[in-house]
């Protein structure tokens, strides 16, 4: 028999861990609320049953105030799952049962899984599941999704013991609900979810009232019932009256079923006394970041990067040699070289990306990531960002692609979009070769300082753009910081490695396909003219003509040569190629000759303006693709890229004008 089972529960209650365990999937889990942002499906078999399990985003309530709530509620209301597994964090029972009661109102067969029983034992908390089963009129099974304990019993209970049993509230509440059920019957002939609808109408659920299209008389009746309900609960606010009714029931139940030893100081409190300390909290945060960056971008990361680069070099040489020995035509060799260089540039960053993801995964699984956001919120708010924006910004120093993926941490659409626009201004590691080349040619005495100034400039631009966007675009007043701080948990090795591997694989396949395609296109455009004839002089190629047509744009910035423009255009495919393109278009065969040519083509001020532009303009095509994927809006993607390019142009012009006045 085929059955659809919805997996519903609070954020960070372990839904995805259980989902992975049951279906053998490898979905990403972490110890922070909101890891799962879209529903995921998987299959498993039990006895003769074929079960489709749907992992829904975590929700605190069946209201419709967040995207996650809407996705989860829509699925349950519209797709009618046959059964529900309500997963409940046993260490946080009261708040988790608040959702359970609402799910129970749906009248669907349901089983409640009390998760983290292993942790409960350590915390000396005892939950009487038999008594809970009786009081909630629903099967309750204790499980540990992490080590699999109790999961077989859970599935058995799901198939054999669930029923459409009803949970009854106090008499006064039931009476009011019965009165509203009459209204529900008038608009809806199908009795499914009747009690759920009745309670939602009692709660004045705006979406449902609109959906039911109640007439004036029905609305008046509803209003009278709501007023009477508030009065009977001595409350002024219908939201509070409804929530209070549920929480009162829960307090009553937990009092009977939960016993805990008082006055035990938990490990989380001890750690937080240090990591969230008034004086040490922020220094500790920066120390943690520093260590991560020293390892990732310092000797260890660079060692691995060197290994891969060496490997790619050897492979390229051998392939070219084989091709030459096979008398392959020059154009094919040139094309294959372009492909290998394009893809290779990305591959060489794999070790650093994997290391970054390893650390990010540890930060996520341990529960520290919520704390980092807690520490930084006030500072980032000043420029219109949410505390959680710090995570993607930080990753942007490595590669903009995973950084943009990490913007999923943010809840509100405005916070997320603002972070996505600003993150590319963090100088990614692929831009470093550009600074390294120009600084060594034009500022040999202050090379380190000039390179560092680029990173600083990125930060300054983020602050200024943040202030501008906050004032004119994202006038986001609804941004809040209501965030659960979960207990610290030891990251599991299996999960960390799996996470790192999945991210690396995804990065490889996605960025790889984009880069591969991009490299082929670039090669075609630099080797053919508009009549599609192969040419030797790149100035006559498609890209050369386009470059020359665009030079006027760069007159105010000082570097208005078609060669500079082409280098920047190829930088759109991958930032690393700005330098290699310069070598090609300036006809330089060796590094020293490129240095000499550059000296004659740029003044120091123009060179600095060029670096400034390279730092800030449109992120590479892989990042733009990610921007589109994460925002799911072509319009937003285009606007962001135009904004970033405009900022780059203004900044480069300012550098050129002010620099010329000061130094010329």
């Amino acid at each position: 028999m085929k059955q659809t089972v919805a997996l519903v529960g609070n954020p960070n209650s372990g839904k995805t861990t259980l989902f992975n365990l049951l279906t053998g999937a490898k979905q990403h889990v972490g110890n922070w609320p909101g890891v799962t942002i879209e529903k995921k499906e998987g299959m498993f078999n039990y006895e003769e049953h074929e079960i489709k399990l749907v992992d829904l985003p975590g929700i605190y309530s069946m209201s419709t105030f967040s995207m996650e709530e809407i996705i989860s509620r829509d699925f349950i209301m519209n797709e009618h799952p046959d059964l529900i597994i309500n997963i409940v964090d046993g260490t946080n029972l009261e708040r988790n049962l608040y959702l359970s009661l609402q799910l129970k109102e749906l009248g669907l067969p349901m089983v409640i899984a009390i998760n983290m029983i292993d942790e409960l034992k350590n915390k000396h908390i005892d939950i009487d599941t038999k008594k809970l089963t009786k009081l909630l009129n629903t099967p309750v099974i204790g499980i540990s999704a992490k080590n699999g304990e109790g999961v077989r019993d859970l599935v058995h209970s799901l198939i054999h013991e669930t029923s459409t049993s009803e949970f009854k509230y106090d008499e006064v509440t039931e009476e009011h609900l019965n009165q509203i059920k009459k209204i529900v019957k008038e608009v809806k002939h199908d009795p499914t979810h009747e009690k759920f609808y009745a309670f939602k109408l009692l709660e004045d659920d705006e979406l449902l009232i609109k959906q039911f299209n109640l007439n004036k008389e029905q609305l008046n009746r509803l209003n009278v019932i709501q007023e009477s309900f508030k009065k009977s609960k001595s409350q002024n606010d219908i939201d509070m009256a409804a929530a209070d009714t549920r929480y009162e029931v829960i307090e009553n139940i937990t009092k009977q079923c939960v016993t805990k030893e008082q006055n035990i100081k938990h490990i989380t409190e001890k750690i937080d006394r240090l990591l969230l300390n008034k004086y040490l909290g922020i220094p500790m945060f920066f120390l943690i970041l520093l260590v991560i960056f020293l390892i990732t971008f310092g000797p260890i990361g660079e060692y691995f990067m060197g290994l891969i680069e060496g490997l790619i070099g050897i492979i390229t040489e051998n392939i070219i040699e084989i091709l030459i020995s096979l008398n392959t035509s020059n154009w094919l060799i040139s094309l294959i070289e372009a492909i290998i260089n394009g893809v290779g540039a990305i591959l060489s960053f794999m070790p650093q990306i994997m290391l970054l993801f390893l650390f990010l995964s540890i930060l996520e699984d341990s529960g520290y990531i919520s704390r980092a956001a807690f520490l930084m919120d006030q500072l980032l708010r000043k420029i219109g960002l949410n505390g959680k924006a710090f995570i993607p910004m930080l990753m942007g120093l490595g590669c903009t692609v995973p950084a943009l993926m990490a913007t999923r941490v943010l809840e509100t659409e405005d916070d997320k979009k603002m972070t996505m626009v600003l993150t590319p201004f963090m100088s990614c590691s692929a831009r470093l070769p550009i600074y390294a080349l120009i600084a060594s040619v034009f500022f040999p005495k202050h090379k380190g300082l000039v390179i560092f100034s680029m990173y600083l400039l990125g930060l300054i631009v983020i602050i200024i753009s943040g202030l501008i966007l906050k004032k004119f675009v994202f006038k986001n007043s609804g941004s809040t910081f209501i965030l659960e701080l979960p207990p610290y948990r030891l990251p599991s090795l299996r999960n960390t490695v799996m996470h790192m591997w999945e991210k690396a694989k995804g990065f490889l396949t996605k960025a790889g396909t984009v880069i591969l395609l991009g490299s082929i296109v670039l090669w075609l455009f630099t080797n053919f003219n508009f009549s599609l004839e192969m040419i030797d002089n790149p100035e006559e190629s498609i890209i050369g003509v386009i470059g020359k047509a665009m030079t006027w744009i760069f007159i105010p910035t000082g570097f208005a040569s078609w060669e500079a423009v082409i280098s920047l255009i190829t930088g759109f495919i991958a930032k690393e190629s700005v330098v290699s393109s310069m070598a090609v278009v300036y006809g330089a065969n060796t590094v020293t000759s490129l240095n000499q040519i550059l000296m004659t083509k740029f003044t120091s001020v123009e060179a600095y303006a060029f670096m400034t532009f390279a730092l800030l303009y449109s992120p590479c095509i892989a990042a733009v693709g990610t921007l589109y994927k994460e925002s799911n809006s072509a319009k937003f993607t285009l606007k962001s890229v135009l904004f970033q390019s405009l900022v780059a142009w203004i900044a480069a012009t300012l550098v050129n004008v002010i620099g010329s006045l000061l130094f010329m």
Binding site: Y60, S61, S63, F65, S66, T91, N92, L93, E94, R95, Y98, Q235, N236, D237, D239, M240, A243, D244, Y247, T268, D272, L276, N277, K278, Y279, G281, I282, S370, F374, L375, D377, Q378, L379, R381, G387, G478, T480, F481, I482, L483, E484, L485, P486
Partner: protein, 74 residues
């Protein structure tokens, strides 16, 4: 008084939650209901947001939200 005016570690109970419905409803759903006992555990090093403890778990919210939560001393 409001939660905003409370001292760290001062145990209080909730009287009501005010403010726009979206945020009020979220706070209530998170368990901040009438008579719920809660206390501020700490303020973030820069003074905002704050961490509160209620119903056996830790929740962080901004001072702006704390101003909307009416409480009384236990």
């Amino acid at each position: 008084m409001t939660l905003f005016e409370c001292e760290i570690d001062q145990e209080v109970k909730v009287i009501s939650v005010e403010g726009i419905r979206k945020i009020r409803k979220r706070l209530i759903d998170m368990g901040i209901t009438t008579n719920t006992k809660l206390k501020i555990i700490r303020k973030a090093p820069l003074g905002d947001p704050i961490e509160i403890k209620l119903r056996g778990y830790s929740l962080s919210l901004r001072m702006d939200d704390a101003k909307k939560i009416k409480v009384e001393k236990v």
